[in-house]
Amino acid sequence: MTAYFIRRLLLMIPTFLGVTMIAFMITRFLPGGPLEQELMRFRMAQAESGGGGSSMTQAGGELPQEALDELKKAFDLDKPAPVAYKNWLTRMIFDLDMGNSYKTREKVWDAISARFPISIFFGLTGFVLAYGVSVPLGIAKAIRHSSRFDFISSALVFIGYSIPGWAMGALLLVFFASGQHLDWFPLGGFESNSYDDLPSIVKKWEDIDDVSDDFGSFDREKMSLVSKVVDRIQYSVLPVFCYMIGSFATLTVLMKNSLMDNVGQDYVRTAFAKGLSPRRVIFYHALRNSLIPIATGLGHALSVIMAGSYLIEKVFNIKGIGLLGFNAIVGYDYPLVMGILSINIMLMLFGNILSDFLYALIDPRVRFE
């Protein structure tokens, strides 16, 4: 089995190379690449400077040949595509340098890593909550199959499944954050602008909510931590809910069906025939087996956690990776596109292997050869 996982790890290399190579080639041949963008920028600058130098305007906004060559060199466009790909690859692997964003001139790695905490926070919270709610809910539904509780929870879960997260987000904002109906949550963003200076915010709340007596006894540091947590929760309730709402249904129903399948198995009858209590039969014998399909999903969640969601991030004005990736594609910001793509592919490939590994770990029958 070790051989199997070594083989899988080795197979990641050609897969990664294949995907990035294809993506790289596409970026080379699509119109609207970096040269065109530079030209555009040049022309805009010229237009702004206006009639300052009439000779220049007459040149028709053309860049001098030397400058053009220099630009080409800077973007590796003077070399054939395979060589450029090789350069991009070696720079990334050995220097962790994925180039600079065409737009902001920022290093790609810096741009992405600045967004990591936000995406990981939302991804992880959503993921933990989705599993934390769906697994017990699925178990409860299986045990009370066909009861009123089962029907009502199914209805709720499927309504959630059928509403897109961003639409739900817009709806929630109107009702709970706009102040038109209720004003429980902030309209968007990741944290208060004065997050790093929060005790003062608490002061503000003290005024509003009149809880000064309770908070008054806290020392400054503690207050700062508590208020930070409160702040974080205030900002994340709505977006996290929108992130998860779609995955509730699949996970809950998967858990329910998996457990019900297992309760109908012969070994459950054997367990009852041994004189075990129903609690032990269901929560020990059947549950252990029914968690197998749930646990194998954990690996795939790895890539989902990082991916973020453009639309939800847009609605809540969160600066996450989803939004960054979307803007990069729309803006032909190829180094950034390649950077995000590379990271996502790595996560996906690792996620798949992790899934198989978890599968082999829980189910003793599984032997990968």
């Binding site: 070994y267 009858r269 009852f272 025939a273 075990l276 189910d363």
Partner: protein
Amino acid sequence: MTTIETPQASPTTDAEKQALLSVRDLGVSFRTEGGEARAVDGVSFDLFPGEVLGIVGESGSGKSVTSLAIMRLIPDPPGKIVSGQIMYGGEDIVQKSYPDMRDVRGNKIAMIFQEPMTALNPVFTVGMQVMETILTHEKVSKSEARDRAVEMLEKVGIPEARKRLKDYPHQFSGGMRQRVMIALALVCHPNILIADEPTTALDVTTQAQILELMLDLKSQKEDSSIILITHDLAVVAETCQRVIVMYGGKIQEVGTVEQIFTDPKHPYTKGLLASLPSTSEAKQKRLYTIPGNVPALHEMPEGCKFCTRCSEVVDRCHSEEPPVHQLDSGQLVRCHLFEEEK
């Protein structure tokens, strides 16, 4: 001739022995799409200490449902015990509370099933599954339970039992898995073992070994009994002392194994035996056949359940359910033909 409502066929030799288990007028129904289906109807029989009782029948005969009812393992819903008593140790199993029932299962009455492949939990070790039975019923330490498990696994013929405690069911062959099943069923020394088609999924030579093992273990515990549920008449002939023949959820005939195999009375029993390919005499060209198919539960006819396929059917069979007649030989037969017989 005597006609009795609750037949009490007893083995001719141990007539005065007290029954270990008495089933009276057992009825089990299942809710199906086609309405309520009686899977077991008015089944009464006794199990005596030390005997091997065979229950034979085809699919839908109610033999497995009867055995599950004794363990109160009928899946509810859709199934339900709707009538009757199952007396064990002076108490009615049907009326027992759940905690009381747990004390019976695996401890006093144990059961093994047809598919050793699926009857063991695939994600737990064999050792844990055998030890679990002990720890459920007896207050012993874990290490003591482990020693008992090893001892039991050795007894059922698993080589290097201590080493194999840590193995999972899929690491055993089919025959070995059935041995493990027997070990976890018998480790608390129950006095009744219900074996539901224990060898159907096994090869012939393995089947012989497993049957041998079951009889051997039974003989080691005095007065313990086996109920063997099977469709295979030959297996019954070789292992049982008494035989119950079921069809359509009802007992059709009860007798000693000699009576059933050499002098069957019920047309169904006769037909079943005749349709087996004979291997002792010269080959017959054609086999005897019982016409038609086993009806589905909700398609069972009025009157005698076998009337649609019976070669000796008379008019009243279609309208009137025959009572059970006890013959002088002690055999019980549910058939109108025996009304006048003395």
